[in-house]
């Protein structure tokens, strides 16, 4: 039995009197594609920060490759949600990707054929060869995102963490990114954990889903988790799960008032309009 890439065990985080995460537990096996679904304010960013070791827990622990205090930073690659790159910054796409090889090491990068080959390989993996020599700040948001993925991947992490990569994309763009990530997971043998507030773009590729609501989580396959009874228990109120031509719509039952995230009646996963 291989070691889970990531094991979150009973993690709770309490800040200034509020419980942000409440006994969250789940595992990610090597090469698995996992979606962390939850509306804004559900605790996704906090959970990511805990996994990255940037946020202390009030209870529970996180094991990366079985170790609580191992070289976490080498094993996890991170792509943040916001990355405003100044168009004047003198850094080409390939330079930023190359920086990913060993940015944590002191000293200056020594150019070598191995480095160049590695960078080319990553640029190819994210389909970024045609703008490899453009300044990062001049790329579109989607192109920058791909470069950041390559930057994170080049260090050969075991787990890739992406914070709401689909947030500002239209449906077509979101599908492109998801397809790219799914391909990367297969080709590079790296587990992927994506946070999103929209379940439908990820449905075709997710091996596992972690559903987060008001700090509490439920994890499993889509069939196990995206069900009325499971989600009702998670939310603590009546929830219906509807199938609309293969897409999922999660709604509060009739006569319910607003949920904790302030959406009246409609929960994450709604996926409409088109």
């Amino acid at each position: 039995m291989s070691v889970d890439v990531l094991a979150v065990q009973g993690v709770s985080v309490r800040l200034s009197g509020r419980t942000i995460l409440d006994r969250v537990s789940f595992e990610i096996a090597p090469g698995e594609f996992t979606g962390l679904i939850g509306s804004n304010g559900a605790g996704k960013t906090t959970l990511f920060r805990v996994i990255l070791g940037l946020q202390a827990t009030s209870a529970g622990r996180v094991l990366v490759e079985g170790l609580e205090h191992g070289p976490r930073h080498r094993l996890i690659g991170y792509v943040p949600q916001k990355f405003l790159l100044d168009p004047d910054v003198p850094l080409r796409a390939r330079d930023l990707v190359g920086l990913g090889i060993d940015a944590h090491r002191l000293g200056m990068p020594v150019p070598s054929r191995t480095r160049r080959a590695l960078v080319e390989e990553m640029l190819h993996a994210v389909d970024a060869e045609r703008f490899a020599d453009t300044r990062v700040g001049q790329l579109s948001g989607g192109e920058q995102q791909r470069i950041l993925v390559a930057h994170a991947l080049i260090a050969r992490p075991r787990l890739l963490l992406l914070d709401e990569p689909l947030a500002n994309l239209d449906l077509g763009g979101a599908q492109e990114v998801v397809a790219l990530l799914a391909r990367i997971t297969r080709e590079q043998q790296v587990a992927v954990l994506i946070s999103a507030h929209e379940i439908n773009p990820l449905l075709p590729v997710m091996d596992r889903i972690v559903y987060l609501a008001a700090g509490r989580a439920v994890s499993g396959t889509t069939e196990e988790v995206v069900r009325a009874d499971v989600l009702s228990e998670l939310y603590g109120r009546h929830v219906d799960v509807l199938d609309v031509h293969g897409r999922v719509l999660i709604v509060a039952g009739a006569g319910e008032d607003t949920d904790l995230a302030g959406h009246e009646g409609v929960f994450p996963g709604a996926g409409i309009p088109g």
Binding site: L15, S16, R49, L54, Q55, A56, D88
Partner: protein, 306 residues
């Protein structure tokens, strides 16, 4: 009565005309800079105050060279600077700081030239010190009408635009949504700041003028969030530090080491700084009481200027 006061006020304090002028002008400038300063700090424009200080040097040095009154030099220099900043201001924040810095550099270089030319022509060396570090005691009564005029203009601009200025300083988006011409209001504020900076410059010098523009206002905003209270508090703090600074400077005339008196600007700036530090205490105490874990919850922020 005089026995009681004499340890505090050195002899001749109340009789000296220079002191009278200093107290009056000082108080007026404190009020003006305090009021403008509150909006300046709310808009995060402390660097602009800095820029006016440095570019005011150029204006003042130019005035010396040309033989015009220093205050005029400050006013013109600052207005030019304000214009330049408005033009540059359309860019995003990081680019703006860079451009402002470049303009500052060119301006200061020019100031160096002017001062050099003036000093070699007139073979006196005091110009640099007077312009840069100023002295509220050196204000001649002939300048007072201009001071009054400038103060009136600044207060008129700021108080007339009070509501739109307040709203656009708090949220530019909300202000434009209500049809407020945010850029125009901002431009007017910049002009008011330019003039206020000129006034601050003749009292405590150009490169120290930021202290008056930013210090009392920042302290006031830490102590109260209500705008009118902040304005009054800022003006009050300004007057207090000015007067106390004047008293101390006068008293220091016989202090060691040179028995020429310590610079009044030094006292004013120090008092402003101390006030700012003290104004942070209530908030620090409040934070400790709620027991927030700042180390855990805040990511270390790279200190990029806004």
């Amino acid at each position: 009565m005089s026995h009681f006061l004499s340890p505090i006020f050195a002899s001749g304090f109340f009789e000296s005309e220079a002191v009278h002028i200093a107290l009056a002008v000082g108080a007026l400038v404190a009020i003006v800079t305090g009021v403008v300063g509150v909006f300046t700090v709310m808009r995060g424009q402390s660097f602009a105050g800095e820029a006016f200080g440095d570019l005011g040097t150029t204006g003042g040095a130019g005035a010396y060279l040309v033989g015009v009154g220093t205050l005029w030099g400050f006013v013109i220099g600052n207005l030019v600077a304000a214009g330049a900043m408005e033009v540059i201001g359309v860019q995003r924040a990081r680019g703006r700081d860079l451009a402002t810095g470049i303009v500052l550099g060119a301006g200061i270089g020019l100031a160096a030239l002017f001062l050099y030319l003036y000093t070699s022509e007139h073979s006196t060396t005091g110009a640099t010190v007077t312009i840069l570090f100023g002295s509220v005691f050196a204000i001649s009564s002939a300048t007072i009408p201009l001071i009054l005029l400038l103060s009136a203009v600044v207060l008129a601009i700021t108080l007339t635009l009070y509501r739109p200025l307040l709203l656009s300083s708090v949220s530019a988006e909300m202000a434009s949504a209500r049809g407020i011409p945010v850029r125009l209001v901002g431009a007017f504020h910049l002009v008011a700041l330019a003039l206020a900076a000129a006034l601050a410059a003749i009292t405590i010098g150009t490169i120290l003028s930021t202290a008056l523009l930013v210090g009392p206002a920042a302290s006031a905003l830490r102590l109260t969030k209500r705008p009118v209270t902040a304005l009054l508090t800022a003006a009050g703090i300004g007057i207090a530090v000015m007067w106390l600074g004047i008293v101390l400077a006068y008293d220091s005339y016989h202090w060691p080491p040179v028995h020429q008196g310590w610079p009044v600007s030094f006292f004013v700036v120090t008092l402003v700084f101390i006030t700012y530090l003290l104004s942070g205490i209530p908030e620090a105490r409040r934070r400790r009481q709620t027991g927030r874990n700042h180390a855990a919850s805040s990511a270390a922020q790279p200190a990029t200027p806004s």
